[in-house]
Amino acid sequence: MIEVRDIHKSFGDTEILKGISTTFEKGKTSLVIGQSGSGKTVFLKCLLGLFTPEKGQIIYDGQSYTDLSPDQKRTLRSEMGMVFQGSALFDSMTIGENVMFPLRMFTKQSMSEMQDRVNLVLKRVNLADAQKKMPSEASGGMQKRVAIARAIVNQPKYLFCDEPNSGLDPRTAIVIDNLIQEITDEYNITTIINSHDMNSVMEIGEKIVFLKDGVKAWEGSNATIFRTENEAVTNFVYSSELFKKVRRMYQEENE
């Protein structure tokens, strides 16, 4: 479980995060949503320890990140998996080498054990035959799946995904969303996804935190987001014609 208590983060005179508190539970897929510029990526990078908040605490299973020594922080980070928006695959390595990388860095497994584990996770993301390819030879959806495989290969306790289905077609985006949710259930990990994709919200949003201008404007789930009267949320959710139509149909059904 990750507990966030009143975190503040500024860049120069601009305050990006203005006191956010929430919790992310183990075995659940949590989504952080909001418009571009609402502070989602900064929030995620604070959780990952890439940015240090000026104020507030982030507690990982009872351990406050700010109280840890640099070595303890590195150990904690080795328990995190991250899927970056642009996949961030190492372009000098093959897909197989990318996935094996965390194992080579953090485990004492033999080459055959590592290879077995790589085969297993690549099979899990339906890329068993792509090991020898370079990342540049893979499609956007394949690169995302490789990034997921790399993130889970070392059996992390926490999985973070920054807009995992941006730039993907709707069908592939759903495949990626479902894959993340299945992995979260299967490995019982704490998963946090940054997104502004309403399809993801509907598919996998077991918990949803809505950010607006650096504050938490709303918190709920995919079951409650369509019923909320919170103006900031409704403006965001029903900004497209499709969802306006869905809302009208939903209201008509209930009348």
Binding site: G49, K73, L76, R77, M80, A88, L89, M105, F106, F160
Partner: protein, 245 residues
């Protein structure tokens, strides 16, 4: 203030380069790759430039010696001194600041832009050690490149001398051997090690700490070249003052 900040951050990066080392089994491969990219990959251009600049130095010297009282072997002597003391260590290092320096800055900078460095940091890896240390170790083989540059520079001078008809092979070889001071070689290699350190670390600093997109990668490469060249020229002056005067 920005200069002071950059100098401070540069030295912190140097310190971090030796902290929390990457596993040897991984590091070994990275070092061999960097030796291939930075050292072996530079041999062609260094050989080409050294041979022809050595020839030009010889021609210029020969053409400027019009006094019949000055012995012809002086052409070989002047070429040797120019190549060993300055041309090979300093001039080649400036060229390498462009070739190797821009490669280092752009490769690390691109990793920054595409979040590959963030990925390393999220995994708990000391990204500075992982990225900069192999380049530093690879550049410790740089004196080998300079040795080749010295040899080919003098050889280029010989070729120019003979084919240009400025002096005989015997005179040239005699000049190359005349009044040889072994410490000049030590001086040249001490400089080379210092330049190698600067060539590995200054471009790495500009690549690692860059912000922005692909345009900024290009700007960072240019800035890295400028400051590496400035650092090489300044350290060249200081070392010459300390070691030869």
């Amino acid at each position: 203030m920005t200069y002071l900040h950059n100098i401070g951050a540069y030295f912190i990066m140097i310190k971090d380069m030796f902290r929390k080392p990457t596993r040897w089994s991984v590091m070994k491969g990275l070092i061999f790759k960097e030796i291939d990219d930075l050292i072996i990959g530079s041999m062609g251009i260094v050989a080409f430039i050294s041979f022809f600049v050595g020839g030009v130095v010889t021609i210029q010297t020969a053409l400027n010696i019009s006094n019949p009282l000055i012995p012809k072997y002086l052409v070989g002597f002047a070429t040797r001194q120019s190549v060993i003391l300055e041309f090979a260590p300093t001039f080649i290092s400036i060229i390498m600041a462009g070739k190797v320096g821009s490669y280092i800055t752009s490769s690390i900078g691109t990793m920054r832009v595409t979040e590959q460095i963030d990925a390393l940091e999220v995994m708990g890896i000391n990204a500075i050690n992982y990225l900069v240390f192999p380049k530093f170790v690879a550049m410790m083989f740089y004196p080998f490149v300079i040795s080749i540059a010295m040899f080919l520079g003098i050889l280029g001078g010989l070729a120019a001398c003979v084919y240009g008809g400025f002096t005989t092979v015997e005179d040239y070889v005699r000049g190359v051997q005349e009044d040889f001071i072994p410490f000049h070689m030590a001086y040249a290699f001490i400089k080379t090690f210092v330049f190698a350190f600067l060539l590995a670390t200054i471009p790495s600093y500009y690549g690692y700490f860059m912000r922005g997109g692909s345009l900024e990668v290009g700007k960072a490469s240019t800035t890295a070249f400028v400051w590496t060249s400035v650092a090489i020229i300044l350290s060249n002056y200081l070392l010459t003052q300390m070691l030869l005067s």
